[in-house]
């Protein structure tokens, strides 16, 4: 120690610690620059590094500088003082600014890469999704549809629709199919579910919940909703959405990896909002097509607007109920606040927040369309439709039990017949 500090006090002598990369031994060395070489001299060694081949490793937290040669395991470490003495002799290598510049360049390029990827996900994918969806072979989409339809069958209770009622429903579907140029046969199903909704699956399947039918007051409204879903089918919105979501999912995983950190969660939330935005655009397009279909099929073009008005009042009723509950439960303050927060959350995240606007838009567009005044369905059929799930629900207890049943079905011998009967509508569209 004394000898070293004596050495350090000499302002021209530069000393460091050298590990040769071959043995685990540390050599105290003195460092000099001789021409284009760095010379290291120790007790039992003397070696030269070409300055061109030197590389600087990241500094240690105490400010020590570590130097090595390209592809070498050897290390020369210099503490702050000695590094300062060496700096004038190796100005390029020991310039701190280049390190900072490197960090900014790296951060900048990664930000640009991330922005490019995000931009592609937000703008490029949706643009690609529609033409790609058109390019998906019909039988592939039909298969996907059969799959999704089966999933719906597993997780909802099927309503056994009487033949006559199903025929009336099918007739409605056929009329819409004829005017919509749909590449798929429209296949309508009613399921028992505790919420009012209708949705289109790939391959022409349209599922309507019994609660939705209960909420409607005329078959024309059902026709309006079906026309809207038929537009999703004909425009292959569902396929486009699935492709978009799939591409989005893959790219998102590429971007954020399997992680669960804060950054990842922010990215995922952004992705969800992004997908909501697109589904709204598709809804608006389907509304526009629906009106055209209704007019072409001689169905009430105002029915869609009527339906939106009705949904709006259903939402308002739900909110009123929540408010009533709040008023009643005022005694317990914290809970009320939580409930209010919950109501706010619900209204913010609703997929159809703009029901009123859609009602207005479709009423305005419907004003110029003709209709002979014939209802979409006879009163008897409509009444029968409303009763479907009250008489013919097949209830299984839980989704797990349903899944177990299906596995048992699949394992039993007469696989195909069973599955068809369970899905419960009509023969599969595609060959096996």
């Amino acid at each position: 120690m004394p000898s070293i500090s004596a050495m350090s006090s000499d302002p021209t002598l530069i000393t460091g610690l050298f590990a040769d990369g071959d043995t685990a031994r540390i050599h105290p060395v003195s460092v000099t620059v001789e021409d284009d070489r760095l010379a290291l001299t120790g007790d039992s060694l003397r070696l030269f590094w070409r300055i061109k081949r030197l590389r600087r490793l990241p500094d240690r937290p105490d400010g020590s500088v570590v130097i090595s040669e390209t592809d070498s395991d050897a290390r020369l470490s210099l503490d702050r003082e000695n590094a300062a003495r060496l700096r004038p002799l190796l100005p390029r290598l020991l310039d701190d600014r280049s390190i900072r510049r490197g960090t900014w360049m790296l951060g900048g390029s990664l930000t640009a890469l991330a922005a490019g990827l995000a931009g592609f996900m937000v703008y490029g994918l949706p643009m690609l999704a529609t033409p790609l969806a058109q390019a998906v072979p019909l039988d592939v989409e039909a298969r996907l549809g059969a799959r999704s339809n089966q999933f719906v069958a597993w997780f909802t209770d099927e309503c056994e629709t009487p033949d006559a009622t199903q025929a009336a429903l099918d007739e409605l579907g056929d009329r819409l199919e004829a005017v919509s140029d749909s590449p798929f046969e429209l296949k309508l199903r009613i399921v028992d579910a505790p919420f009012p909704n209708a949705f289109a699956l790939p391959g022409g399947w349209i599922v309507v919940t019994d609660d939705l039918i209960d909420a409607m007051e005329s078959p024309d409204e059902l026709a309006g909703v079906l026309a809207h879903e038929a537009a999703h089918v004909a425009q292959r919105h569902v396929m486009a959405a699935q492709l978009r979501e799939m591409g989005f999912g893959v790219l998102l995983e590429f971007l954020i990896g399997g992680g669960t950190g804060a950054g990842q969660e922010i990215a995922r939330t952004g992705a969800t909002l992004e997908s909501l935005r697109h589904s709204r655009a598709a809804e608006a397009e389907a509304d526009a097509y629906a009106l055209a279909y209704l007019a072409a099929a001689d169905m009430n073009p105002e029915a869609l607007a009527d339906f939106f008005d009705r949904m709006q009042s259903v939402f308002e009723d739900m909110e009123a109920e929540i408010e009533d509950a709040e008023a009643e439960g005022d005694s317990e303050r914290t809970e009320t606040r939580q409930e209010r927060a919950e109501a706010w959350l619900r209204s913010t995240l609703r997929t159809h927040p703009d029901t009123t606007r859609r009602a207005e838009a479709s009423r305005a567009a419907a004003a110029g369309l003709d209709w002979s005044g014939t209802p979409a369905m006879s009163n008897e059929d409509w009444a029968a439709l409303g009763a479907v799930c009250e008489t013919g629900v097949r209830v299984n207890d839980t989704a797990m039990e349903r899944a177990a049943d299906r596995i048992a079905d699949a394992l039993s011998t007469s696989t195909k017949d069973e599955a068809d009967a369970e899905v419960g509508t009509r023969p599969e569209p595609e060959p096996e």
Binding site: I4, S8, T15, L17, A19, G21, D22, T23, A24, R25, I26, P28, S44, L57, R60, P61, D62, G63, S64, D73, R75, S77, D79, L106, G107, L110, T111, L113, A114, L117, A118, R143, R147, N149, Q150, V250, E253, L255, I256, G257, G258, G259, G261, A262, G263, Q264, I266, Q338, E339, E342, L345, A403, R406, I407, D409, A410, L411, E418, A419, E428
Partner: protein, 393 residues
């Protein structure tokens, strides 16, 4: 240099790493036997700037920075860890991690998902469930196996990127063997309702350290698996029993909570308030289980250090329930309070705990150790990253 202010009695790190040559002092060229003294001088002041920069860049690069961020954290932790005054060096790079992540995504996960998706498309829908049922167990096995491979590969990468005095650590052996052992032990663990877990943990640890090198010298572990986990079973029993009791208590609380909301129709009303209450109960349950698992965690740390030796040098980690509990408790608060952005601080605290309490007994001729011929894999731990297990340690 707030760092220096925080450095405990161990001394000024600049002195330790720098010019003293103290460790070499008794080094006569012939008899170069040394004791090993570990020190860890990481501080909040040192890790905080790294944490903040990482948080910022992770957000604006939509997390792409994470590979470089993790590299910086490791570099800091390694370089503040000294053995006989010389710090460890982490030689890995963000590029290596990034590259291997891309490779794993393209060549491992994407094909797996493509096959699964194609299966959905191509299999007849009515028989899909049958195939799904048949494929279920192989798929679970495949993913557990991949997880084992990921652990092994990531460890090999980290060791090969760790040098001390210019000499690399490294790992030989077979990822496949390790992965199958880990799959088999997991099965045994579930069959024994968890009671095999300590043995599994210690056997896997033994397997890894048996294949671990510093330079051209291999670490030593006990010859067989017998009695490896013995000293940890008492603490494990405590964790197991309280885990079970806590589980029953949680179920009871859950039933009471749900019971209250059952009105007409017999269906519980899962509104958001109830869900929050259930999660609160779950949190309490996890904290209780966490507390009673601390003795086991400390016992595992101690035992792992105990079974490993290097050229006759034996290791001890002076871990105990209360000190380790404090590290975990504050880490939990740090991570939760920063929504995960403070993770490097938590990692630093655990790392520092381990190396401050790591002691070695016995002398060793370090100078006789030569470089490890195996330079390790060319790129990093993409598989581990994909499974989100590729953090620091």
């Amino acid at each position: 240099m707030s760092d220096e202010a925080d450095v405990p009695a161990g001394g000024d790190p600049a002195e330790n790493l720098g010019m003293t040559g103290q460790a070499e002092a008794p080094t006569g060229e012939d008899d170069a036997r040394e004791r090993l003294v570990f020190n860890q001088s990481a501080t909040w002041g040192g890790i905080l700037p790294i944490t903040l920069l990482n948080a910022l860049l992770n957000i604006i690069t939509l997390t792409l920075w994470r590979f470089w961020g993790r590299t910086r954290v490791r570099r800091y932790l390694w370089s503040t860890t000294t053995v006989n005054g010389t710090p460890l060096e982490y030689t890995g790079s963000g590029w290596e991690l990034f590259r291997s992540f891309i490779v794993v995504m393209l060549f491992v996960l994407l094909p797996i998902y493509a096959v699964m998706f194609a299966g959905q498309l191509l299999l007849p829908p009515e028989q899909f469930m049958l195939y799904f049922g048949l494929a279920y167990i192989p798929i679970i096995l495949l993913f557990s196996w991949l997880l084992g491979v990921a652990v092994w590969v990531a460890r090999r990468y980290r060791l090969s990127r760790t040098t001390w005095r210019g000499i690399r650590l490294g790992q030989s052996g077979s990822a496949n063997r390790y992965a199958w052992a880990s799959v088999g032990y997991s099965i045994l663990t579930s069959l024994t309702l968890g009671w095999f877990a300590p043995a599994a943990e210690m056997r896997l640890t033994r397997m890894l350290w048996a294949d671990t090198f510093y330079g051209d010298h291999r670490f030593s572990v006990p010859q067989g698996d017998e009695g490896l986990a013995g000293p940890t079973y008492g603490a494990f029993a405590l964790a197991w029993i309280f885990g079970l009791l806590g589980y029953f208590a949680f179920i009871a609380v859950y039933m009471v909570l749900v019971w209250d909301t059952i009105e007409a129709g017999g269906q519980p009303d899962f509104d958001i308030v109830l869900i929050v209450k259930i999660y609160a109960a779950l949190l309490v349950y996890m904290i209780i289980v966490g507390i009673f698992s601390l003795p086991y965690a400390a016992a595992l740390l101690r035992r792992k250090a105990q079974i490993v030796s290097f050229e006759g040098v034996r290791f001890t980690i002076r871990a105990n329930t209360f000190s380790l509990g404090w590290v975990y408790a504050l880490n939990f608060v740090i991570i939760a309070g920063t929504l995960g952005l403070g993770l490097p601080i938590a990692q630093m605290r655990l790392w520092r705990y381990i190396f401050k309490r790591l002691e070695a007994e016995g002398e060793i001729d370090i100078a006789s150790i030569r470089q490890n011929a195996d330079k390790g894999p060319k790129s990093g731990e993409g598989l581990a990253d994909a499974f989100d297990i590729g953090n620091v340690i």
